[in-house]
Amino acid sequence: MTGRLVLLGRLLVRDLRRRKVENILLLIAIAAASGSLTLGIALNGIATQPFTETKTATAGPDVTVRPLEPTPAARAAVAELVKTPGVTGHSGPYPLAFKTMTVHGKTVHAVVEGRDRAPAPVDQPAITDGTWVRPGGVVVERAFAEAMGVRTGDTVRVGDRALPVIGTAVSTAFMAYPHAGWHEPGRIEGDHGGLVWVDRGDLGAVAAGQPLSYILNLTFAHPPTGITFPHDVFDVDTPINVTTWAFIKQENGRLLADAQYAMMIGTFLLTFLALAGVLGIVAGRVIAQRRRVGLLKAVGAGPGIIALSNLVEYLVIALAGAGAGLAGGWLLAPVLTRPGASMIGSVGVPLPTRGTVIAATVLALAIAGLATLVPVIRAATTSTIHALADAAAPPRRRGWRVWLSRRLPTPLLIGVRINARRPRRARLVTMNTLITTTGLVAVVTAWAHDPTLSSIGDPTIPDPRNARLHEVLILLVVALGTLALINTAVSTWTAVLDARQPLAVARTLGATPAQAALGLAVAQLLPALPGAALGLWFGYRMAVDDDAPTQSYFPMIATTVGVVLAVAVLTAVPALLAARRPVAETLRSAPT
């Protein structure tokens, strides 16, 4: 047993040393998949921590209540709710007006809350710059201020009144910008808008006769945990809107929904791309290791040892890939998981949880296992003589392709026949192109989405969801591009090695080097075309809602054409090199 372990260890070390480039490519492929999973998990947990920190720092309410009718009677009725059993604290009701804020030539919706200078026991917004409200000044919610380019000291027009900005602050009593709950007086459905605070005494002047609404902040001995709140808790005849802290937290998290969705899809695509890449590399390596398999068998190694000697190397690389992915994801996480301007505190850079470590490791091992199991078992069960002869698996005959290719020009004839020899490799090329095109088209389509808020009052205000989404998209483009590049290079190189002999024969029969090189490039391009076409469709469907306005198709089609051209260029270089190889040399080294 010890002897076998020593043998396995020696083979492992030798393989790791001998095939450095391949090992690095395998490592990158697996690390990209597990790294994106780590990031995806980190991004999914992002909304929780900053909200909780901000709620604690601002003594945020467990529940807010607003009357739907802007009448003094409704206000009085809501004020009575502080006597509800279980309520442990309250502030307000504070008056609200739904006005506009004008700054730098832009006029946007603003929810204006009238507040007292004295700190409130519930919902005391945390000042992030300047001071809290005082007569004649306005405090702007921080995310809203950042979006509008407003700083302390600027002057803004709230309604018809020009007011100096005396500070910025954050709160959890309202949903984060741009979902502060603005609506036209008398209407229930809301529009996008930001939040500002003015002195309670100034609100009447700011409202300029508009009927005021109110908000009451409550804390409970047993805060509700759900996003809905049972209305029968409150004994009130007035129609009211009740919002729980859990609902606000959930809605704030939706600002990251696009980024989270993109990361989830990206992880999915990267996993498949990594699988395709590992499959390609492993297939080539198992062919190269065939002779060693024969030698080991000849000296008495059983199928188990043979399988282990091949498998253990990939498992070690997979574990290293999982570690690299976790480390990469952990290092990149702060870029994507920093809290938005509407929250304070930070998510920090906690070490990946045990669940994340397990998930990334399982993913890496699954990729390695799925990609290697079949070729490894095949190598283990192949006959000793066959393995010792170092004979590659005979190419498969595809009669109809041979028949069809007879009618084609020489480069196409060569290309179709090379593909017909190794249909599995052609399918890998299709899969690689499909996933790459899907990812890139989805990214381009998502990037081209309307980047502005549709209903905040000014059509040029950017949608804050896009910033985080774009960061994720850039990350995905880099990861997808890297893996696709690796996969294409590996696949092309494998094709070049496999096609050496048939190409050399074709050249002795009169095919020119250009025809041979073109044929090899065609062999890679032909399976890439359906992959690109399907990828265009999948990517478009993935990124576009059915009810979204029709976009320009140009960026998507240009991306697809770009992918095909990239495959062509990446294939042409090794194909040209292969076609320059002396024919006699190839024929001499070809197996009999």
């Binding site: 005959r397 041979v402 007879r406 024969v505 050249r507 029969l509 009169g510 095919a511």
Partner: protein, 235 residues
């Protein structure tokens, strides 16, 4: 009329103390229709000479003329066209496409030359019939014996009606019976043939036999019919 001519043909590998003259200033003229056997021990430069004559390798020095045209200075593209139209190759390892049937292997050269599929197929079937494999046209190489495979390779070499056929150890992987089949086939050829071989039985069909040693010709013998018969019996 001379079909193929080599003047001072040289192929060197390496340099200084590691310099190897695989082919050393060889002069050769092969008349049309001649069946030339080039013999010699392993490593004497036979295969390299054949590759140089067929334009598969570039000489270090010297000239190669085929049908009155100098070919050692041609581009790869022009050489490819030349091989397609005027040279047929037969290799020891057959070099058949494993995934193509016998007839598909034979017609490949015609298809590469731009012939229509129908013409290519007709010619391939005719050649397979000539080499006695009409009933094996639809078989894959793996389903054929070594001799049959080599006969398919010979048929393929003849597909485009070449001026000359160059055969590199064509019987090296064959048993006695298969060797005789192939030699009989070569004997029936009415095209110029250069065979590089170890096999002395080739003398039964050769008009001329050159022995090579250390990259140079050691012996150049014209064989009359009677001599051929005697040598064949001896071998």
């Amino acid at each position: 009329m001379t079909v193929l001519e080599a003047r001072g043909l040289t192929k060197r590998y390496g340099r200084d103390s590691a310099l190897v003259r695989a082919v050393d200033e060889i002069d050769l003229a092969v008349p049309a229709g001649q069946k030339l056997a080039v013999m010699g021990p392993s490593g004497c430069g036979k295969s390299t000479l054949l590759h140089l004559l067929g334009g598969l390798q570039e000489p270090s020095d010297g000239e190669v003329w085929l049908a009155g045209r100098r070919i050692d200075t041609l581009s790869e593209r022009a050489l490819a066209r030349l091989r397609r139209d005027t040279i047929g190759f037969v290799f020891q390892s057959f070099h058949l496409m494993d995934e193509l049937t016998a007839v598909e292997n034979v017609e490949l050269a015609a298809l590469l030359a731009g012939r229509s599929p129908r013409t290519a197929r007709r010619r391939a079937l005719h050649l397979l019939d000539q080499v006695g494999l009409a009933d094996r046209a639809g078989h894959l190489p793996a389903q054929l014996s070594g001799g049959q495979r080599q006969r398919v390779a010979v048929a393929r070499a003849l597909t485009n009606e070449p001026l000359i056929v160059l055969a590199d150890e064509p019987t090296g992987n064959l048993d006695s019976a298969a060797t005789l089949e192939v030699l009989r086939l070569f004997e029936e050829l009415d095209t110029t043939l250069i065979v590089v071989t170890h096999d002395t039985r080739i003398s039964a069909i050769a008009d001329r036999m050159i022995t090579m040693r250390d990259g140079a010709f050691a012996d150049d013998t014209r064989l009359a019919g009677a001599v051929r018969a005697v040598r064949a019996v001896q071998s």
